[in-house]
């Protein structure tokens, strides 16, 4: 997962997540500092983290250290919920509040450890396990016209209140996709030929083959998703109004060739997810035809108008105010 945990590792060798976390907390500190120096109210930051593992249709809470592995798998009571007000959110998932980068890294470590213990005992059949580390960031600050930064933050502006406070929220998902970790399955380290022909999965991937047959672009059909939980969790990040940056981590080493290739292929697919605003737009429509008729009529009116004027001019009455086109033509529903 590019985690690079070891504290003895130098900055240059850190993985993407530690870097992101450090950057985040540095940014928080900078904003606090700046406010203090300027004498403005210091913004409040709240940072939460969640760590989930998904495989097949099971969701595991990797922060849940209280229960035995088997018991945990037996059940989670975790729900992925979506309602009209709150978008997508999880219920029953341990959320850890974090106040420092070190704390965050510690959380990550514990969760990752929990994951690798689970995986070795995993059923060979369930070969697709994803891990999602989510950071929720919430900033409450004084609302001022000078606050132009971070146009990418989702805003819930309290426009009705004259007074000051606004809440900015952001969500970061770090996703470790199935098969990208060198887990052991029947002895092999990592699935071979995931995009080619999969052996060890038996016929589990048949659904993937079938769903790839259809015309993806049209959305005139429904595809029952296999990875529905993953898609649901990431729903508001894929498509829609959130700014999504996908960072695909690959390796220059030839030993990681397959993982690199698969990651790139996945990233390419994700990039092409475009959500159409409007699905059906008929070009041939009665409306257009009716409108053309309208225009034709207007043009005729115009010709008539010009003709009358021309006649009057010829008759030397150009200085008279011309009677405008009779009223009935103006009021007609054309």
């Amino acid at each position: 997962m590019g985690t690079g945990f070891d504290i003895n590792i130098g900055e240059e060798e850190l993985g993407i997540i530690p870097r992101a976390i450090n950057h985040l907390f540095r940014g928080i500190e900078e904003r606090r500092q700046a406010a203090t120096e300027q004498g403005t109210p210091v913004p409040e930051f709240k940072i939460n983290a969640q760590f989930l593992e998904l495989y097949n249709e099971e969701v595991l809470d990797l922060f849940d250290s209280t229960r035995e592995l088997e018991a945990r798998r037996q059940k989670s009571g975790i729900k992925i919920h979506e309602d009209a007000n709150g978008g997508i959110y999880t219920v029953g998932v341990t959320t850890r509040t974090v106040t420092s980068a070190a704390e965050m890294m510690q959380c990550l470590k514990l969760g990752a450890l929990s994951r690798s213990t689970a995986s070795t005992q995993m059923n060979v059949q369930s070969s697709r396990s994803h891990a999602i580390f989510t950071i929720h960031l919430c900033q409450v600050r004084v609302c001022s016209p000078d606050n132009h930064e971070n146009a990418t933050d989702n805003r819930l502006a309290n426009s009705s209140e004259i007074n000051e406070f606004e809440t900015l929220t952001a969500k970061f998902h770090f996703v470790d996709l199935a098969g990208s970790e060198r887990l052991k399955r029947t002895g092999a380290t990592g699935d071979r030929a995931k995009e080619g022909i999969s052996i060890n999965c038996g016929l589990l991937a048949l659904g993937n083959v079938i769903s790839a047959l259809g015309d993806r672009g049209k959305r005139s059909t429904h595809v029952p998703y296999r990875d529905s939980k993953l898609t649901r969790l990431l729903q508001d990040s894929l498509g829609g109004n959130s700014q999504t940056v996908m960072i695909a981590c690959i390796s220059p080493s030839d030993r990681d060739f397959m993982e690199t290739l698969n990651t790139l292929k996945y990233a390419n697919r994700a990039r092409n997810i475009k959500n159409k605003v409007v699905v059906n737009q008929d070009r041939a429509s009665q409306q257009i035809s009716v409108l053309r008729t309208e225009i034709a009529r207007l043009q005729m009116e115009l010709m008539e108008y010009k003709a009358v004027r021309a006649v009057l001019v010829l008759d030397g009455m150009s200085d008279q105010v011309l009677d405008p086109i009779p009223s009935h033509l103006v009021l007609s529903v054309c």
Binding site: A84, N154, G187, L203, V209, G214, D215, Q299, L302
Partner: protein, 638 residues
């Protein structure tokens, strides 16, 4: 000549069993830092077995000196790739009864396992070598029930290997040969073939006929499944779909399937057929999906779900998956209606009675010729009838009139209600709304077939009633995309209703004497439509309300169309007050101008809304005159 004593043979068999155990079971618990430990051990054992086999029963190259009928060693197959359909293998080569044949088969088997072993440990070249050696040994044999299993398996493995190297043509070669071999074997022989694991096992541990058949058929099912992937890779989707169908059908016949998994796959396959307009096949897949999903059992009750987490999960799973199938059915009905509409509509989107007659005639002709034969046939003895009875509930033919369309609509609506039971708004907003959108689309499609204008209006009203409350309830931050879709659809629906009212009014004798009530109704619809188009346009603006300089590709056409419509709607509002008329005309002009100006500033945008641009240009030319006339009138009247 040296041959195995029974003790020596037992030792070989034991070694083989050990190797299997290491490879399949113990390897799972190998440590992270030595992940192939068991596999390497297995390899050693297999190599020893190979040597034993080679040394014994060989007599130093005296293969022909043990009283065999003199069959010369068959010529070798090329080292790389596969000769197309080398069915000589059925007529030439050592029979497996012969000592040479048996020995070759055994050597081939060991080479096979060595090959797989090396592939598992990521030593692909070595794996390939062993697998090709296997082929070489087999190449000397005639296909028989003792070795055909190996013939198939080795080609499956080579297919996978070459696909993994992105040499899919080679892969295809091996897999297609495996296919031919299977087919011919089943035709000419068909008896349950020996499984490879049986080469090295004692009499008592031999498999039953049933077990043998199962393993063999499973191997061939994989061949078909791999071929499906190959054909898909080459973009031969139709063939790929056929192979997916075959794979699914075999799963049913061999009773090797998980009901819900199978049902979902069949339902997904139906969607492929739908996109191709093959509704008979699509319907069959869906009917099969429905029937087979029933085999997964009853949904656990609420009560049971409260008591046990496992039961709760099972309940969720079953409900969800069955609802997914319902959604596939909805798409079936919707697409059938829409495709029929496309066939029947004239150039202004109304039902063309001439085309209708034409299609009716064509259908009668087909019926007389006994129609098309059903290409797909899922099921086993138990399920054929149930599948057929589900199929009977809905037609696969394009509806040609209102009655037929309504029948399909009702089926679709029924599935809408089914799907909504699980995908409730609270919990599944996105899915719920997609289902509602489909429901709305069903109404829209049905309205096309409805001749009575009032009734048509009522159908559109149903759409509005369904979608309007939702649109307003959704959080605008999280559901921006969906809200935009709903706004646009509501705008178009109100517009549609407005046009219908107009049609009704125009049918009356005197188009000037529209009564107040009608005018009010008309204006209401007109404004409502404009309001939603405007809402849509506003949603494109920045939080401060600034209009975007540049429209993104996915909103470009909708935005231009919305502008165009807003313009038109404003010019259609009826009012007896000249200042109001003026205001409306000005607004109309403003929006028509926007379209023209935007396309001038962004030439590439013109293609997205050709007709709208053309008409906007005309209106920009004509409206000012109308406005001026109105102003002049207002001036004289004051």
């Amino acid at each position: 000549m040296a041959s195995f004593s029974s003790n020596e043979w037992k030792a070989v068999c034991a070694k083989f069993t050990n190797a299997q155990q290491l490879s399949d079971v113990e390897s799972r618990t190998d440590p992270e830092n030595d992940p192939f430990r068991s596999k390497y051990k297995a390899r050693e054992l297999l190599t020893e077995i190979y040597c034993s086999l080679k040394n014994f029963e060989a007599g130093d190259g005296e293969e022909h000196d043990d009283g065999e009928t003199s069959e010369p060693e068959p010529t070798e197959e090329p080292l790389d790739g596969e000769k197309p359909v080398d069915l000589d293998a059925f007529s030439r080569g050592w029979s497996s009864d012969s000592r040479a044949g048996l020995r070759a088969a055994r050597l081939a088997a060991v080479e096979y396992y060595l090959g797989v072993n090396h592939v598992d440990t990521e030593e692909l070249s070595a794996g390939q070598e062993h697998l090709m050696n296997c082929m070489k040994h087999l190449g000397k044999c005639r296909v028989s029930s003792e070795n055909v299993s190996l013939f198939i398996h080795v080609r499956n493995q080579l297919g996978i290997l070459w696909a993994g190297r992105d040499e899919t043509e080679k892969s295809q070669g091996f897999l297609e040969t495996a296919e031919s071999i299977y087919q011919r074997y089943m035709k000419e022989n068909g008896s349950p073939p020996t499984d490879m694991t049986e080469y090295f096992c004692s009499e008592e541990n031999q498999l039953t006929h049933q077990e043998r058949t199962k393993k063999f058929e499973l191997a061939y099912t994989h061949t078909l499944y791999y071929l499906a992937q190959v054909y898909q890779y080459f973009g031969e989707n139709e063939r790929a779909a056929n192979y997916c169908y075959s794979t699914l059908q075999r799963q049913l016949q061999l009773n090797q399937f998980n009901p819900m998994e199978w049902a979902l796959n069949a339902a997904t396959l139906s969607q492929y057929y739908i996109t191709k307009g093959q509704y008979m096949e699509g319907r069959h897949c869906l009917a099969a999906a429905t029937v087979i999903s029933g085999l997964a059992g009853e949904v656990p009750s609420e009560a049971a779900a409260q008591e046990s987490e496992a039961e709760r999960d099972r309940r969720e799973q079953l409900k969800q998956k069955r609802s997914e199938i319902a959604r596939c059915w909805i798409k079936y009905c919707l697409n059938l209606l829409r495709d029929a509409k496309k066939l029947l509509e004239d150039n202004i989107g109304e039902l063309d009675t001439d085309r209708q007659d034409e299609l009716r005639r064509a259908r009668r002709r087909e019926e007389e010729e006994e129609g098309r034969k059903q290409a797909l046939l899922f099921g086993s003895e138990d399920t054929f009838d149930s599948i057929a009875s589900v199929e009977e509930k809905v037609s696969y033919l394009f509806p040609l009139d209102f009655t037929e369309a309504r029948a399909i609509f009702l089926v679709g609506q029924n599935y809408v209600n089914q799907a909504k039971e699980h995908f409730q708004m609270d919990g599944f907003v996105t899915d719920h709304i997609e289902i509602l959108q489909d429901h709305s689309a069903l109404f829209r499609a049905l309205a096309f077939f409805e001749e009575d204008v009032e009734r048509r209006c009522k159908m559109h009203k149903r759409r509005v009633d369904m979608l309007e409350p939702i649109c307003n309830d959704l959080n605008s931050q999280y559901y921006l995309l969906i809200r935009r879709q709903l706004m646009f659809e509501l705008a178009e629906t109100y517009n549609e209703m407005m046009d219908l009212k107009l049609t009704l009014a125009n049918r009356q004798e005197d188009s000037q004497s529209l009564d107040n009530h009608t005018i009010k109704k008309f204006n209401h619809l007109c404004s409502a439509s404009a309001k939603y188009f405007q809402m849509f346009l506003d949603s494109l603006c920045s939080p401060e309300g600034k209009i975007p300089e540049h429209l993104e590709e996915d909103v470009l056409r909708p935005a231009l169309v919305a502008r165009f419509r807003v313009a038109r709607l404003h010019s259609k509002l009826i009012s007896s007050s000249p200042p109001v008329q003026l205001d409306n005309l000005n607004k109309a002009l403003e929006n028509y101008k926007y379209v023209v100006q935007y396309c001038e500033a962004h030439p590439e945008a013109a293609a997205a809304a050709e007709t709208e641009l053309e008409l906007s240009k005309e209106m920009v030319g004509l409206l000012p005159l109308k406005i001026n006339r109105l102003k002049a009138r207002m001036a004289t009247n004051n």
